[in-house]
Amino acid sequence: MSQQIHTHTLANGLTLLAERMPHVRSAAFHILVPAGAGYDPSGKFGLAGLVCDLMTRGAGARNSRQLSDALDNLGVDRGESTGTLNIQLSGATLARNLLPTLAIYADILRRPHLPDDELDAAKSLSLQDLQSIEDEPQRKVMIELRKRYYPDPLGRDQRGTAEGVEAVTIDDVRAQHAALYHPRDVILSVAGDIDWTALKTEVERLFGDWKARTRPTLTPETIIPRSDHLTKELDQTQIALAFPSVPIGHSDFYHARGAVGVLSQDMSSRLFTNVREKHGLCYAVYASYETFKDRAAIVGYAGARPELAQETLDRTLDEFRNLANGIEDEELDRVKVGLKSALIMRQESTGARSSAIASDWYFLNRVRPLEEIQSAIDGLTVPGVLDYLRRNPAKDFTVVTLGPAALRV
């Protein structure tokens, strides 16, 4: 499959990435700005999300209503999300509407009104979002795990705290926008039926005169992760765990993905087969890999009725530990074909591709060609994965549980 990937870094530091996809009529975009919750000052946790919300409540020549209507009239499905390190603005529409859509996003990023009289509404949404986590035990336990596993600010919940949200003033919002919303290290990626020359010219016009500033650096503190139990009368005990892995870009990265795949790629993988299918212990159990630029973790989740929770935890941990004792060739072959198929099938989705190329650039400062990823997957061997597991064993688990009673780890 031949790929058409274009990259262009503006003089001010903003990088434009594009992948032309034949046979589609749509286009999708992703914008990453290093302005996530990690930059929230002490006492104002939740500020990043408020900035992100208020940016879409009027920008450039349009008020909030006009801005929303303009995007709806272009058929743009969209979302804003605040992460720990980045905020992300993304959307998808018909390819012919892409350039007018990007012009609106230039207003949102550069010329938001950040209206004082809508701050209370944005705060109210943030506070309700925090409240709603209490009604979603799986989300809650994963948030509590990350708080205890990662050092601050990496383990921060991007929603912040109720006290933090309440303390934010419109001056805080405006100051944070002025400090963090500038082009340095911003990534704008596009995938779909695009004309590169026209896109590049328009992005230069929209963003070329945006002034770069220095960006504050985040220094994670040094902590020792800790296990914990949170008591709540739930009908299902929530179990979350994490242990260290290697980040994307590390020579062992694909080995780590292979190891997680053997555990949890699909319904034939070990966690599903051994914890759910053989013993009927629970409906949901999985492992996944997550990475920052400089560190990574393998995380696990299971939810089980309280009387089965201890056995579920024990068997889940056993599966992690047993991995280093041996993997069948056939197991790894399935992981490989699954990873490669998913890679090709994602090529049908403009949203998936614009997200993937932005992520590559963020982590690696380049876009990995599909051939490179395919060949790395082909190169995975059982001895290679086992060797990785010997060097990075599944141990020193951080386990956080939420439910009526604590479990033994």
Binding site: H23, R25, S26, S64, R65, S68, D69, L71, D72, N73, L74, G75, V76, D77, R78, T93, L94, D120, A121, K123, S124, L125, L127, Q128, Q131, S132, E134, D135, K232, E233, L234, D235, Q236, Q265, D266, M267, S268, S269, F272, E277, K278, G280, C282, Y283, A284, G303, R305, L308, R334, V337, G338, L339, K340, S341, A342, I344, M345, E348, S349, T350
Partner: protein, 412 residues
């Protein structure tokens, strides 16, 4: 894209939409059976059976089923609704023979007793798992209140009691009655060879027994009406969840497109009446409206969740808003904007083989017709203000059955 259709002598329907530019092929076996086709003694059997289908056949044990999907890199899953049980997979084009082989094989499950007992535990866990999610629980209660005995209000999961009591032989009997060839559609969309697909399905499913699997009570429920409050202690449920259900056009109704436009104008996640009334001012955490088009019946679902202190205020706003749309209709600008949104979504959905596959089979099952992406775009574009008025008159937004779930003891 080209459409194809064929019926086997035993009555099994085969559908295809070929698109040589696609990078994958999406395949499904769609069984026209679900919770509404169950009697109370076997409540939840359709969904439990969907799980048992993955537990093996005379040719494969449970692990082999999952392994055979895995080794072709299939993105596969299954779901059960009130009306359908669907087994689907997306694979690279070269794996078409293998994916048809495994999907067709599992549609003739062994239903072994020990697998049945183990899986029962998983189902019971799944029931608890959903019960602790208020967003799901409110809809389960709301459907019961609205349908008031109509089988579309049956719970897909069943209850802890009904699943505990269910016997393997009751499931086998249900399977024999409902999984007959004329009640099943095999479908593929994407990059594949149609004659080859037909021959693969014929070889695998041509010998399945025929029979009739009728559906009873295909009548439109009037909606029971009323305001129902399910109170939960605040340490169990933090927010207040409110759902309103009103009758809407059935899936094959000529006013279906107009009804979907109404629901987009009233309750889409951006720019809708509900968005500006509840979400934008921060009154509700989430608010929206959707339409569920079923066999012989349909329903509008309007829902929001918020801080309990504001729930009665939000509820009043929603009722006023619905009354206003009912009385005064929507504006020309709203109609145009809703069309733009749904048409943009239709084009993008058409780019994914899985989404196309599901649309093609749904159109065939519910409307007895094939509709290309361009047919769908033309149908959306053709919706008029007159049809909007007609659908509002025929299915009023004021005819609501209301359910509140959360800490409050009363609402409004």
């Amino acid at each position: 894209m080209t459409f194809h259709q064929h019926t086997l002598p035993n009555g099994l329907t085969i559908l295809g939409e070929t698109n040589p530019a696609a990078l994958s092929v999406a395949v499904a076996f769609w069984v026209k059976t679900g919770a509404r086709d169950e009697t109370p003694e076997v409540a939840g059997v359709s969904h439990f059976l969907e799980h048992m289908v993955f537990k093996g056949t005379p040719r494969r044990d449970a692990f082999t089923v999952n392994r055979d999907f895995s080794r072709i890199g299939a993105d596969n899953n299954a779901w059960t609704s009130e009306e359908n049980t669907v087994f689907h997979a997306v694979v690279l084009p070269e794996f078409l023979p293998e994916v048809v082989d495994v999907l067709a094989d599992i549609l003739r499950p062994s239903l072994r007793g020990d697998d049945f007992d183990t899986e029962k535990k998983v189902i019971l866990d799944e029931i608890v798992r959903y019960e602790v999610q208020p967003g799901w629980a409110v809809s389960e209660h709301a459907r019961k209140h609205f349908y008031a005995g109509h089988p579309l209000g049956n719970s897909v999961l069943g209850s802890t009691a009904s699943i505990t009591a269910l016997a393997r032989d009751q499931m086998a009997e249900y399977f024999k009655r409902r999984y007959v060839a004329p009640n099943i559609v095999a479908v593929a969309a994407g990059n594949f060879d149609w004659p080859k697909f037909v021959s693969l399905v014929e070889k695998a499913a041509g010998g399945w027994p025929t029979g009739v699997a009728p559906r009873t009570q295909r009548i439109e429920p009037p909606g029971a009406g009323g305001v129902h409050v399910v109170t939960k202690p605040p340490d169990k449920v933090a927010q207040q969840y409110v759902m309103l259900i009103a009758p809407a056009a059935p899936a094959d109704h000529e006013l279906g497109y107009a009804g979907a436009i109404v629901s987009t104008v009233v309750g889409d996640y951006t720019g809708s009446r509900l968005f500006w009334a509840l979400t934008d001012p921060g009154l509700a955490d989430e608010a929206g409206m959707g339409v569920d088009e079923c066999d012989g019946a349909g329903a509008y679902y309007t829902s929001f969740n918020c801080d309990p202190e504001r729930a009665s205020k939000c509820y009043g706003i929603v009722r006023e808003l619905l009354d206003d749309v009912q009385k005064n209709g929507i504006t020309d600008d709203e109609l145009q904007q809703a069309k733009t949104k749904v048409m943009s979504r239709e084009v993008r959905a058409g780019e994914r083989t899985q989404r196309r596959m599901l649309t093609v089979v749904k159109d065939w099952v519910y409307r007895d017709e094939y509709r290309s992406v361009d047919d769908e775009l033309a149908a959306w574009d053709a919706v008029t203000m007159k049809q909007i008025r007609e659908v509002l008159d025929r299915y009023p937004l004021t005819n609501q059955t209301v359910t509140a779930y959360g800490p409050l003891e009363r609402i409004g």
